[in-house]
Amino acid sequence: MNAAEMAKAVREAKISAVEIAEGAIGRIRLIDSDVRALLTPLFERALEKAEEIDRKIELKQDPGPLAGVPVIVKDNLCMRGQVTTCGSRMLENWRPPYDASVVRFLEEAGAVILGKANMDEFAMGSSTENSAFFPTANPWDLERVPGGSSGGSAAAVACGYVPLALGSDTGGSIRQPAAFCGVYGLKPTYGLVSRFGLVAFASSLDQVGPFARSVEDLALAMNVLSKPDPADATSSWTTRPDYAAFLGRENLKGMKVGLVSEFEDYPVQSEITEALARVESILREAGAEFVPVSLPTTIEAGLPCYYILAPAEASSNLARYDGVRYGLSAEAESLMDLYMKTRGLGFGPEVKRRILTGTYVLSSGYYDAYYLVAQKARIRISREFRSAFEGADMILMPTTPTLPFRKGEHQDDPIQMYLSDVFTLPVNLAGLPGLSLNAGYSKSGLPVGVQFVGPKWGEGTLLAAAEAVERVLGKPTCAFGGEKA
């Protein structure tokens, strides 16, 4: 069952929320000792929430569009009173005194949160190996990484623990793990989903979004998540469409899909190129028209631009972890000592690398040479996308240049690791929506993903196109068999 079917069944009292929760918990207990997607299970709390849902049903009240749907949220989303670590020693025991807006939205819609998902520390990474606690395995090959930084959320959906999970995407952290785990992952337009209560990595790039195993569920999740939020000054007031209304198109006639000329000669693993071709022909079959579009400097400029701007913002966002108000606090003789030790002990190597990079590019004498130039490049990249979308409704491109890599493969060369976000991070720089979908499996049985990118507010188009592909290739299947919860 997918989320939509579950909610329907629960609302019609065909199945109880508690039964569903128990089923999910059972599957997690069965599988997660190997995959390790969850950082913090919240089973007792979940069962209580499920009982509340069932009570509402008895009282003929409507628990909401996600009635009894079990979900897992990334551990950088604040939940009142529940440990929220961001995968860092720094926040190992921190219990937020407030809820992230999206957590509130989920629970108001009747969702049952089963636990907090593992992630790269402070969402910095592409393999979930940067979690301070333990790495998560790729459900399709335990020797490989699930991608990151939302690796736990992606794996949880791929393993069939839950039909829906939340992640956050700053440079590809939803789409890349979605591709690696063979599920859908949607990174919404910047400003569409509230960031209030999402522990910041790079504020101008961060967006919260859903993982799912059906397009219908993505739309359902977007209807719940995408609300204007007065607590987030970057949250748009534009009225949101009903995302479900984009589904059920019998064909894609009139839709123009762009193929980026410059990407043709970028080295991408053959199985990904084949998947792109597969998806292209499906979309053609459905009536979509293909047009060449140009993003002349995006691929060249994107990576360096991102790895200046994201660390710059991060260096400032992570300065608050000083051992004074919350989180880790080292024994210290003096204030300076407290700062140096707390931050030296609390942050892992990748976080330190980014904090130092960011501090450097903002420090006096370098701001103009690096931060400002990167900011200009960012504007240029968003302009390239804008003109590309004058001729196309969406763009079809790879999510990643490679299939899931082995654990430890890039540990000693961070910049190699960065390259796995080369196709996703420009989308964040331009603040656009990106959807990664599964387009089959490699000979070795690894999932192969491709990416749809839309103009601002273009989520609907991406969902419609994804549905067309789903009709032909079917819904993504769960790892470890079974079309479970």
Binding site: N76, W94, F196, D232, S316, R320, V324, Y326, L335
Partner: protein, 488 residues
Amino acid sequence: MRKPRTPVIGLEIHVQMKTESKLFCACSTDYIGAVPNTNVCPVCLGLPGALPVVNRKAVEYAVRTALALGARIGLSTRFHRKNYFYPDLPKAYQISQYDVPLAEGGRLPVGEEEKRKWIPITRLHLEEDAGKLVHSARDGRLGNSEYSLVDYNRGGVPLMEIVTEPELSTPSEARDFVSRLRQLVRFLGVSDGDMEKGSLRVDANVSLTDPQGGLGTKVEIKNMNSLRSLERALEFEIARQEECLERGEPIRQETRHWDDGKGLTRGIRGKEEAHDYRYFPDPDLPPLVLSEAFVEEQRRLLPELPWDLKERFVLQLGLSSEDASTLTELPGIARYFEGCVREGASPNRAANWIRTEVMRFLNEKKTSIENFPLSPEKLSRLLARIDKGQLSTTLAKTVFERMVTENLDEDEALEKAGAIAGKVSGDNLREMVKKVLEKEGPTVEEIKSGRDSKGKKRSFLCGLVMRESKGQADPAEVAKVLEDILDR
């Protein structure tokens, strides 16, 4: 040729705005006397995931102040992050404005009419206040403290930072500037401008021109928390720099601390390498965009500016410059005075009474004009009696005293003061007049022999009788009685 060294002073002033809530969250700004860390929330504690949303009222207040200073309002400005670590700064950055401030330019007058000088303003921008540290040492000094305690109640309170051009040339000018600015923010109702309470804080840059008139090395002085300490600190610092230069020592570019007790500035030791605040635009806050209409609305809401008001009091109402200054120091007093004039009181008498009687009462009772028991109308009625000669000033004061302390209405007060006009009259008055005339034989003679053409001597006698009657006689009747006694 060798010119005398002249001081060059610039000021940087932080003004706390009296909004209800903080600049970026809904916590109360009312931290004085509050239990530590009670006016706090995820935003002003810098909890992970919390986000700022700007307080519209704070923007209105800052824009109004900028307009009153005649500054140019930036219709699209940005908030920046000023990054540095300190325990009172929960996010480890202060949200401020950097390359594009809310307003630029403008000016504020110092000195009196003829010697009036306009001091140019460089910029005015919005930023958030930091929390407060309590140092463990008995003397409260950081240096001697084992540890410190942090209270975030003040963190996030809205501030306007106002920076002047270095065009002030004396400590008293600097003092005057600050008191003018304080007066302004009080008239605008955007701040209580209280230096002692810290709602108005002044830093000063001082240097001395070299003998050729070129600029000297700038020294920043901090920690002056009254107009007086500002003036003293500047005087001390100027003298100190002069002595240094006389001795041929160079001036160190540094920040010095004013020690009010010892009456000297002390250099803050330690690394003097320039700060590296790593300013960059705050990605959590969209550009601060203001419409022309919004700015015009704020302009419409501006009251008459204190120095214009003062000028009007002098030119139209004929007050002395000092009276006008005192009456325009506080908006409430100015409004009260205008009320009295509207009620028909003579401007000078009203001014005089407000400066003396009213203000004395306010000081004794440590209260403000807003809760002064006597309405302008009532006071005017009392003053009118003096003008009409129904009451002597002395008696009017006792009546006033009773009205404000015992909250009596005028008639009761007059009654109690035994001051119903004309009480001494008829035969009693006739007796009193006779007694006076007996003592004044010579004058009486002169009058009788017609040497009082201007009637000066008569009115002199009138006065004596009024005094004798302690003002309880009706001057008109006194004159009448005098006449028929003298003419007999």
